[in-house]
C-alpha cells in the first residue's frame, strides 16, 4: 500500500512544487488542506452511512437518520446480519465464491498461455491476431447475452454456475492477454534463449521461467479479474438461476421494495463489498500497477 501510490507523489514532489505549488502557496496551504479534508469526508460518508444503517434496527432507521448513531452508539445491533444469514443469504455468498475463484484462475492460466505465444513464439499473422484481441477489449457484454443464452439453452447449462464462469472467463481474456503479453515482452530475451539453448521444452520454459517472473503482472490481473467477477451483476442476472445466484443478483431482487428492505439490503451490500475491500487494501499496489499497465502504456 505504501509503495505505488505513495512513491509517485514522493517522486513528483520536487517537480510539482513548481506547478500548482506556488499558486497554492499564495492561496495558502491551509485552504488546500481544508478542501481536501472536505473531499475525503465527502467520499467516506456514503459508505459509512451504509455501514451504520446495516448496524441499526429497522425501527431506528425509520425514525431517525443514521448519523444520530454517532451520539448514541448503544443502538448498534447485529440483528440485521443474523436475520440476513438466516434467510439463506449465505448460499448466495457461497455462490459468489464458486463463480469468482474458478473464473479468476482459469483466466490467469488461459491468458498466460496465449500471452506467452504472442510474446515469445513467432507465427504467421501474430500481429493481426493480437490486434483482434485489442479490438475485443472494448466489446460490450450486451452483444453476447442473447446468443450465449441460446447456446447455453442448447447445451443445457443455462442457469448453472459453469455457464456464468465460462462467460466471465471469455470476457476477461482480452484484457488479461493484453496485460500479460505486454509484461512478457519485457522479460529479458537472454533468459529465454538460455533456457532454449539448454533444450528445455517450451512448455517448461513457460511454466518455470516466464510464469514465476510474471508474478506481479499475474497478481494485478488476478485482483482485477476477481473484482470484476465478484462485483458483476449483469451476467449473473441473465445466466444464473435462483439456486446459483451470486450476492449481487440476490440483492438486486430485493431492490423493488427498497424502503422496506433496507434492513436486508444494507447488511447484504456491506457483506458483498467487504471481501473486495480487504483484497483491495491488501493488494492495492498490484491493483494500481495493473491500472497503469492496462491504460497508460
Amino acid at each position: 500500500m505504501t509503495t505505488t501510490v505513495a512513491e509517485q507523489p514522493r517522486h513528483a514532489m520536487a517537480i510539482q512544487r513548481g506547478v500548482a505549488g506556488r499558486i497554492m502557496d499564495r492561496l495558502g496551504g491551509g485552504v488546500v488542506q481544508v478542501f481536501l479534508v472536505l473531499v475525503a469526508v465527502f467520499w467516506l460518508v456514503p459508505t459509512l452511512g451504509l455501514l451504520i444503517v446495516s448496524l441499526r434496527s429497522e425501527t431506528a432507521n425509520n425514525s431517525t437518520g443514521w448519523w444520530t448513531l454517532l451520539t448514541k452508539p448503544a443502538e448498534i445491533t447485529f440483528k440485521n446480519y443474523s436475520n440476513l444469514l438466516a434467510s439463506g443469504f449465505g448460499q448466495s455468498f457461497w455462490n459468489t465464491v464458486l463463480i469468482t475463484v474458478p473464473a479468476t484462475l482459469l483466466v490467469i492460466g488461459i491468458a498466460a498461455m496465449a500471452a506467452y505465444a504472442f510474446a515469445w513464439i513467432e507465427f504467421p499473422g501474430r500481429d493481426a491476431v493480437f490486434l483482434v484481441v485489442i479490438a475485443l477489449l472494448v466489446v460490450p457484454v450486451q452483444i453476447a447475452l442473447i446468443p450465449i443464452a441460446k447456446l447455453y439453452g442448447f447445451l443445457g447449462i443455462f442457469g448453472s454456475i459453469l455457464g456464468v464462469v465460462l462467460f466471465h472467463v471469455a470476457f476477461g481474456l482480452p484484457f488479461a492477454i493484453f496485460l500479460l503479453r505486454n509484461f512478457f515482452v519485457g522479460i529479458p530475451r537472454e533468459l529465454l534463449e538460455a533456457a532454449r539453448m539448454d533444450g528445455a521444452p517450451e512448455w517448461r520454459i513457460f511454466a518455470t521461467v516466464v510464469f514465476p517472473l510474471a508474478k506481479p503482472a499475474i497478481a494485478s490481473l488476478g485482483i482485477f479479474q476477481f473484482l470484476w467477477v465478484w462485483n458483476d451483476l449483469l451476467v449473473a442476472l441473465v445466466f444464473a438461476d435462483t439456486d446459483n445466484q451470486p450476492m449481487t443478483k440476490a440483492l438486486q431482487s430485493q431492490m423493488r421494495q427498497f424502503g422496506t428492505n433496507v434492513d436486508i439490503l444494507a447488511p447484504g451490500a456491506f457483506l458483498s463489498l467487504i471481501i473486495p475491500l480487504v483484497l483491495f487494501f491488501a493488494f492495492q499496489r498490484y491493483f494500481v500497477q495493473g491500472l497503469l499497465a492496462g491504460s497508460v502504456k
Binding site: P9, V19, A135, L145
Partner: protein, 478 residues
C-alpha cells in the same frame, strides 16, 4: 455439501495442474482440454522436427498455446457478434425478416429515444467531470502530507460493486431528511439561512367580518395600514400544538405602521373573535410586506408575540400582505430520485466511483513530467498559472486523453448504477441503452430482435474507441 466443495476445486485445481477440469458438455471440455494437450505436444514438437533450423519454437506450438483462448474468444465473443448482427434483422419471434426495421424503431420509439438522450447527457457530462476532478485532486495532493491516505479514500469505491454503490446512493438520496444524508445537509443549510419556520394551513376566517382575506395564496389585510392604526391579522387553521411554546399575542403599539399576526383561537373555547385575547398566541417569524400600488415598499418579520412594525417607512397608506411563502409546507429537501433529477443524481454516484481512478492515473502522469521544461519556463518568467496551463496540462494531455476515452467507453455501457439507483417508477426517465437492451431482451420486453439491434448499436458506439486503442497500441509498439 460435496458439490459445494468440489465446485471450486475442480476447475481451479485443474487449471493450475494443467488438467482438464472436465465439465459435462462438449464445447467447454474442448476448450480446456488443450491445456493438457499443449503440454504433451510441446514436448513432442522438437523431437519431431529433429534438427530445428533456428532456436525459436515452431509456429505449430503457438497454436497449442493459443487454442484455449482462441476457442473461448471465438465461441463467446466472435460467434455472438455475428449471431447478434443476423438476429437484429429479424422480428421479436425471430422468424420474420424485417431488414433494418429494428434499427428504425430505435430511432423512432420514444422510450429508446429517451435512452439515447440520456446516454448523450452521460457522455457529455460524466467523462469531463471525472477527468477534471482527477486532474484537480492529482495536482492538489502533491501539496499535502497525507496524500497516500487521501488517494486510498478516493480510490476505494473502485473496489466496491456498482450494486453496492447503488445501494449506498439510494440511501444518500432518500427524500426524507431524516434518512437521506444529502437532504439532511441541504435542509440544514437551508434552514440556517432562511429563518421562516412556516405555518402550513394557517388562514384567515372566511367571512365578511374577518379583517384579512386570501388573495393568490397570500394573506392580505382588508384595512389599509396607516400610522397609529395597527393592523390586526387573526389566523386560524393551526393546531394548538404548533404554538404550544409561542409567546402570548400582544396588540401592537399605536405609533408607526405595524400590527399583530396571531392565532385567533383560545384553547378550550372563549375569547373574542378578531380581537387579541391574552390567552391567544402570537405567530413569530412571519414575513410581512407593506405594499403600495403593486410594489413591495418594505418587508419585516413578526416578533415572538406576533407584533410587527415597519420603521422608516414614509407616511401613507399601505396594504399589509403576508406572502404565500409563510404558509407553504416546510422545505423538505430535493427530490433526487424524481424524474427531473434522476440522471444527474446517478451521474453523481458515478463520479464518486470513478474520480479516484482518474486521479491515480493522472498522478502517475504528473510524476513523469520532465522538470527541465517547467524550470526553463519559470526562468523565462512564466507565472505559475502559465506554467500549469501551457506546460503541465499539454504534457499531461496523453494521460488526460486516455482517462477521458476510458471513461467515455465506460459511460456508454453504464448499466448497474442506473438499474439500482433509479426507482422502478422513474426508470423510464433514467433509462440508458445498455439497460434498455437488457430490459427489452430479458427484463420482460420479450423482443430479442430489438435487443440484438440495441447491442449492435452499442457496439457501433464503441468502435471509434476500438480504433483509437489499436492505433495507440501500434504507435507504442513501433
Amino acid at each position: 455439501m460435496t458439490e459445494r466443495l468440489d465446485g471450486p476445486q475442480a476447475p481451479g485445481g485443474g487449471d493450475a495442474a494443467g488438467e482438464p477440469p472436465g465439465p459435462r458438455e462438449t464445447p467447454p471440455a474442448g476448450v480446456t482440454a488443450p491445456v493438457a494437450a499443449a503440454a504433451s505436444a510441446t514436448a513432442a514438437v522438437p523431437a519431431e522436427g529433429a534438427a530445428p533450423p533456428r532456436l525459436g519454437p515452431s509456429p505449430r506450438l503457438a497454436v497449442m498455446f493459443l487454442l484455449p483462448a482462441v476457442l473461448l474468444l471465438a465461441a463467446w465473443m466472435i460467434y455472438p457478434l455475428v449471431y447478434s448482427l443476423v438476429r437484429s434483422l429479424f422480428d421479436a419471434s425471430g422468424s420474420r425478416f424485417v431488414g433494418l426495421g429494428n434499427y428504425g424503431s430505435i430511432f423512432t420509439d420514444s422510450s429508446t429515444l429517451t435512452t439515447i438522450r440520456n446516454n448523450v447527457i452521460w457522455v457529455v457530462v460524466a467523462p469531463v467531470v471525472v477527468t477534471a476532478l482527477g486532474l484537480i485532486f492529482a495536482v492538489l495532493t502533491e501539496r499535502i502530507r497525507w496524500a497516500t491516505a487521501f488517494k486510498l479514500v478516493l480510490f476505494m469505491p473502485m473496489a466496491v460493486s456498482l450494486l453496492a454503490a447503488g445501494v449506498i446512493f439510494r440511501l444518500v438520496y432518500e427524500q426524507d431528511p431524516d434518512k437521506g444524508v444529502a437532504n439532511a445537509i441541504i435542509t440544514t443549510v437551508h434552514d440556517t439561512f432562511s429563518s421562516s419556520t412556516g405555518y402550513p394551513g394557517a388562514r384567515p376566517r372566511e367571512n365578511d367580518q374577518a379583517p384579512a382575506t386570501v388573495q393568490g395564496g397570500a394573506v392580505v389585510a382588508k384595512q389599509q395600514a396607516q400610522p397609529g392604526r395597527p393592523v390586526l391579522i387573526p389566523l386560524v387553521g393551526l393546531s394548538q400544538d404548533v404554538v404550544k411554546d409561542a409567546a402570548p399575542a400582544k396588540a401592537a403599539p399605536a405609533d408607526g405602521i405595524g400590527g399583530t399576526v396571531w392565532l385567533d383561537v383560545v384553547r378550550g373555547g372563549g375569547g373574542t373573535l378578531n380581537q387579541v385575547d391574552p390567552q391567544e398566541k402570537g405567530l413569530a417569524g412571519i414575513t410581512v410586506e407593506a405594499v403600495s400600488g403593486s410594489t413591495v415598499k418594505a418587508t419585516t418579520e413578526t416578533a415572538d408575540d406576533g407584533t410587527f412594525r415597519f420603521s422608516g417607512l414614509p407616511a401613507g397608506s399601505y396594504v399589509i400582505r403576508l406572502p404565500q411563502s409563510n404558509f407553504t409546507a416546510p422545505f423538505n429537501g430535493v427530490t433526487w430520485l424524481g424524474p427531473a433529477l434522476i440522471t444527474p443524481a446517478i451521474i453523481g454516484a458515478y463520479i464518486w466511483v470513478w474520480a479516484g481512478f482518474a486521479m491515480v492515473l493522472i498522478a502517475a502522469g504528473l510524476s513523469a513530467i520532465p522538470r527541465d521544461a517547467l524550470e526553463a519556463a519559470r526562468i523565462d518568467g512564466a507565472t505559475e498559472w502559465q506554467v500549469f496551463r501551457r506546460i503541465t496540462v499539454p504534457l499531461l494531455a496523453p494521460v488526460l486523453l486516455v482517462v477521458f476515452v476510458t471513461m467515455v467507453i465506460n459511460v456508454l455501457k453504464v448499466f448497474d448504477l442506473v438499474f439500482i439507483i433509479a426507482p422502478g417508477s422513474v426508470q423510464p426517465q433514467a433509462n440508458v441503452i445498455a439497460l434498455e437492451m437488457w430490459r427489452v431482451s430479458f427484463g420482460g420486453g420479450g423482443n430479442q430482435g430489438l435487443g440484438s439491434a440495441l447491442s449492435i448499436f452499442l457496439l457501433l458506439l464503441v468502435v471509434p474507441f476500438m480504433i483509437f486503442n489499436i492505433r495507440r497500441f501500434r504507435r507504442d509498439e513501433s
